[in-house]
Symmetry: C2
Subunit: 591 residues, 2 copies
């Protein structure tokens, strides 16, 4: 397997040339002082080194060794504690944190690219700090001043890690039916009792403490999702002076044996009257959780992107080195027994498909992160607009990046032929690792329902119109540019197709309660393809006319995307428009 090399040129291109991040940063007061191009480039270069030198080398060994559980204690694989220490020493846990509590306050546009490198190098490792980030976000947004002062600085520094405890054995998607209970105590704290499963980083040996954010219900709470509250429950209780005290009444009962991300500890957690503190308002725990959900979900999408990039890098190297058969055009390297397989059209199809999906995802991730930054750092109408865009695009990024992540890693494995199936080469691990990203943090089916239901049908398409207007503005701006017509004209066609389908589903939902669910996954994919087309057209608009290999590569990849991948919208639109009838017609016992 090729050594990981962070795609810094691509990242810089998107950040500075396509999305002109520094202009945005300069005009937002919270970012004007901290974020600029020079700082951003330096940060990306540092993470590129950490990823390549520290995290990538323990990725396969971590998979082989896995995590271990013994007598309630979880041990991570060899090298993980040291790597975690290096990560913390670099201050990475504070990157996007609130400066009031020791964070660096950097924009998500930058954070997203940093996360991509983490995930390319080692998804299992990345999950520990990523979950801590998520917990920090929720705490920062909803915790009391006291809780924030007590916990955030040590979480930003990585001295304490974070974990999010949502799922229970009988309650995954449907959190409304959780049973973990929280009983109010006289001192204002709560006693938490219940069982949680699938808790990423629920226990491990990387940090001194683990701060759990736990969903639970008060004894008299309303039924369903409106009776859920969020609690901070530390593994080890923290004294008034910030020092560590007694262990809390919680423990890790076991870890899961999984298909992949084996170096990430997936824990079953037991709470036996553990001491916890309310975060945010009573019975508004789900809403508090959703504050950080947009960040987390984009982060999961980025895992799909990161794994794809890693797979692509190895696949290109292999395709250049492995010789097998001759080019259909005749021998290209007659001095060798055969030509390198990159001469074969179908090998190129696989590699270009990876490249085109990766480029689309990286651009869309930067675009969504930009809206996240606007939602966080701007004001008034601009903020509202950004919040709507984030709400609309987050499920697309989470599900589409990860569905394409599976496709890309499978393609990267396929390039290797039989060697792709052997553990030694590392390509198959990427397939196993990335597969979870389609499932956790809300399955991709749930993302699709969120997109078409809450984010589209529920508001009559209002959010969608904002997105469509952004695409249309771009189309209008380049309508007269003949050089770009090959991208702009089909983009307009695809936007219209997406509009038509959106309107049709909103209309169908008025009389058919199954219409949104029936349309959901194909609709999300249709949306994703059009969003990538928008991204590739934007990339092409910057790259066009520049006489440099990098830009020509962008233009040619954009052409491939439009010619060979984008046509999938035709099938997706047709499937959506077939409606719910054939889905709902088969009686349950006839399956």
């Amino acid at each position: 397997m090729a050594e990981y090399k962070a795609p810094l040129r691509e990242m810089n291109f998107l950040l500075h040339e396509v999305f002109e991040a520094d202009k945005l940063w300069a005009r937002l007061p919270a970012l004007a002082e901290s974020a600029d191009r020079e700082t951003a480039d330096a940060i990306l270069e540092e993470m590129a080194k950490l990823a390549a030198n520290t995290l990538d080398p323990i990725n396969r060994s971590g998979d082989e060794e896995g995590c271990h559980w013994k007598d309630g204690v979880v041990t991570t694989p060899k090298g993980f504690p040291e790597a975690y220490a290096t990560y913390c020493e670099g201050g990475w846990g504070a990157l996007v944190g609130n400066p009031e509590f020791g964070g660096m306050g950097m924009p998500k546009m930058l954070g997203a690219q940093v996360e991509e490198m983490l995930c390319s190098a080692n998804i299992s490792f990345a999950l520990y700090p990523v979950l801590t980030n998520g917990a920090c976000l929720a705490l920062d947004a909803h915790g009391s001043e006291e809780l924030k002062q007590k916990y955030l600085p040590n979480m930003y520094s990585g001295t304490w890690a974070g974990a999010m405890d949502l799922t229970e054995p009988h309650a995954g998607t449907d959190l409304g039916i959780i049973r973990t209970k929280a009983e109010p105590q006289d001192d204002g704290s709560y006693r938490i009792t219940g069982s949680k499963i699938f808790i990423t980083g629920g226990d491990h040996d990387l940090s001194e403490n683990i701060i759990h954010l736990v969903l639970a219900k008060l004894p008299d709470a309303p039924k369903g999702p409106k009776g859920i509250s969020l609690f901070l429950v530390p593994k080890i209780l923290v004294n008034e002076d910030g020092s560590l005290g007694e262990p809390n009444a919680l423990g890790c009962g076991s870890i899961e044996h999984k298909m992949g991300i084996k170096a990430s500890a997936t824990c079953a957690m037991n709470y036996d009257g553990a001491k916890g503190w309310l975060v945010g308002e009573l019975n508004k725990g789900l809403a508090a959780m959703f504050t950080m959900m947009n960040y987390e979900r984009l982060g999961v999408g980025i895992q799909g992107l990161g794994a794809s990039e890693r797979s692509y890098q190895s696949a290109i190297e292999y395709a250049r080195e492995r010789v097998q058969s001759r080019s259909p055009e005749g021998a290209k390297q007659p001095e060798k027994a055969a030509d390198p397989i990159i001469v074969h059209p179908d090998v190129r199809r696989m590699l270009l498909t990876q490249k085109a999906y990766i480029g689309g995802a990286r651009a869309l991730s930067t675009y969504v992160a930009r809206w996240l930054d606007l939602a966080k750092f701007s004001e008034g109408e601009e903020k509202q607009h950004a919040e709507a865009m984030v709400a609309l695009l987050t499920p697309v990024a989470k599900a589409f990046f990860t569905d394409k992540g599976l496709e890309c890693t499978v393609l990267g494995q396929q390039v290797f032929g039989g060697h792709g199936y052997i553990r030694e080469w590392g390509q198959e691990q990427l397939v196993r690792d990335v597969r979870i990203t389609q499932i956790y943090e809300g399955t991709n089916g749930i993302q699709a329902l969120d997109l078409i239901g809450r984010k589209t049908v529920a508001n009559g398409g209002a959010f969608f119109e904002l997105f469509a207007a952004d695409v249309q503005t771009f189309i209008n701006a380049h309508a007269e540019n003949e050089e770009l017509a090959e991208f702009i004209v089909p983009l307009a066609t695809e936007l219209q197709r997406l509009k038509d389908v959106t309107v049709a589903v909103i209309e169908a939902a008025k009389t058919d309660p199954n219409a949104p669910g029936a349309a959901s996954v194909e609709y999300l994919h249709l949306f994703g393809f059009v969003a990538y087309a928008f991204m590739w057209a934007r990339i092409a608009s910057v790259a066009a006319g520049q006489n440099d290999d990098f830009y020509r590569s962008q233009i040619k990849t954009a052409r491939f995307y439009f010619a060979r991948l984008l046509p999938q919208t035709r099938a997706l639109a047709a499937s959506v428009q077939a409606g719910s009838a054939t889905l709902m017609d088969l009686e349950e016992d006839l399956f």
Copy 2:
């Protein structure tokens, strides 16, 4: 995970009602005496028991334990030797074997369904006898009378297993460059020297001997594929009287650690002047290998089908039992905390997609097996016609069943949500196991090249026209049936689309050497979708008007297939028609 229950009703339906196997068997002299409906049903019922009671129970334990290699000796997981003995005692190894040497001479139409059950229950196990079958086929078709008498009876009985040794470290797809050499000896035998990798069942503890069919080159052989010969090389030499003699000069150097099929020993084999005997003519080894390749490749396709069926059975059970959220139509089981997830349109979409692909694959596998039987057991023009159909359809079955096999097992895993990612439930094993089927026995990319190149462009579409004529005959026969119009009309449209694309690629290939490769994979998928549409329309034509749950389920699944899955042809046709330009345009160093 649900216990495996063989889909006997579906199998019987296809065999007897859709394809009227007994009528075919009755008119073919070689089958008239041995094969009839009663015998077929009895055989299928017996295999259903063996699969459910003996093979399925050791599937997960086999994955957990894997094979072990120590000092050149391979040990299979617990229970495998006993299961293999049971399999042999049942006479299963002889099912489709040549009666002259102890085989039962049964048709492949039946054999294919038997294989499906084997693969649903335990792909790793299935590979041992399936590879033996393949070796028997090649030996039966090309071996001398002496070799056949000496080896076939013990191979049919399973006392000796078979293995196929093709791949070398530097030569997978491109067998023309293999280096294993065969030196002629005075006694008419050969000394075989070289290294082979990825040899399924190259060594194991199931049988008394292992008969390797090895591709090698004579010292003076022509370069490339025309210098390859096929040799029979037993692990233990066989004395004149048929008893076992000295060990041969070959050994297993190691076994691979793989993503899946862990209970199947994938061996690196070393030949150090091992004694071997020529099978067939010198320098015609590849052709001899290809005799059995059509059977093997259909068999690999059936692995994709078998895994899909297994995944589907578990997914339905889970979807009926797992309660989570409410139906969009309102609570269906208000007495429970939530409704079973099968009420959700998107869960139904996943299950129906599995069901529709499985039904299409099972029908197409029976259809291809029928052509294999005609190619083997009929004469003259009918035989030639059948050989052409087999040549055309085999790559479609191999690649499309297995590509859809990955898709189906991924869907079946997705239905389980987080639990699908945990090893305990077994759904993730199916994904890992089925993944190899897209790679071995010729990658799916190679299948696609074979379909569009050798099987289509090379003969100007002659084979394709035979297939198209068969579809057209069916369309004509039902053109006036209004009840079937919902299937017949779109089938005619899709056939025309496939024809147009076929003609376009044949035309493009005249001037563009990259055209077939550029079209290949999408073309094969387009072909597969149309072939499944043909199958579902045939199924519907039998099921229509029958007032019974089973038939109604078939009709409704056919409707789902036509409405929701078949539209993918539009995208595939568009991608193919985009040609090779965007694939070939990117310079190698710009990837």
